[in-house]
Symmetry: C2
Subunit: 142 residues, 2 copies
DNA sequence: CGGGATCCGAGACGATACTG
DNA sequence: CAGTATCGTCTCGGATCCCG
């Protein structure tokens, strides 16, 4: 089973969404849902999208992803590295130098994200119109 | 400019990421980033993915998206409706009946999300292997 | 330069109760 | 059935200080 999250001794197989042969994001405890979150999280998307342009050093990436704090970028990169999407290479030098780049899987994921980003960006006028429409209708329900 | 968020009287144009002719998720205050978050948020993805299977009523959708609370589903659907991705239709009847479905734009977005979901699900074995590798290396740094 | 450790507020989230 | 309201919890995320 792909969905399994081998927890030491908590909540054994009384669930039904746990015995599936394949990953299913709709199942509550499926690990694919967690992975999807690290990928689509607030900073995960942007980090992957930025790294799809090429490798970055920590602070360069921080400047590229406008608004991210050191802490969150560090956390995000660790999560992405753990899931095998980002490769971290420490270059022995003074001052320290660390290069981040995408793994093959990371590239695949990033490509999908870029598709999505491009789609959303190109349709922002529609979205803004819908928002104004919605907000107007909510102030005067009818 | 697409990135603009017309705020009454706060933080005028001393920013640089605000005068662009196009949307850019990398810019801190770009509205496309917010939209991307409602779309890729924890429940947003799953709601859109579920609705790509066809229209759903509120509680049916709640059952489909395993683990979501009434509150969060309601919030998520409102955000998606506001951005013009989900259509909400109230059928006058007793008991009340509300159908949720995707708009044309919502379908486009959902398709991209399904691509991403499928990719992630199919690579979960790789991800799990990477995680175990990472965790093992962190316990014994070298 | 590339982070880790800590503190703390804001918002996400879930459970429950209530309404039309 | 389809939500809203309220509350308490808990994680996210920013600011700051610190170290190699």
């Amino acid at each position: 089973m792909i969905c399994g999250m081998s927890e030491p001794a908590a909540a054994e197989s009384r669930d039904d969404g746990d015995l599936q042969p394949e990953a299913d994001v709709f199942a509550r405890r499926c690990t694919s849902r967690a992975t999807l979150q690290t990928v689509t999280g607030r900073w995960g998307i942007l980090a992957l999208a930025a790294l799809s342009e090429g490798s970055y050093r920590f602070n360069a990436l921080r400047r590229r992803v406008d608004g991210v704090s050191e802490r969150m970028l560090s956390q995000t990169l660790q999560a992405l590295e753990r899931d095998g999407l980002v490769h971290r290479e420490v270059l022995e030098a003074i001052p320290p130098r660390v290069e981040y780049s995408l793994t093959p899987l990371g590239i695949e994921v990033a490509n999908r994200l870029l598709d999505l980003i491009e789609l959303v960006e190109s349709h922002m006028p529609e979205v803004h119109a819908a928002q104004q429409d919605y907000d107007a209708r909510r102030r005067r329900p009818l």
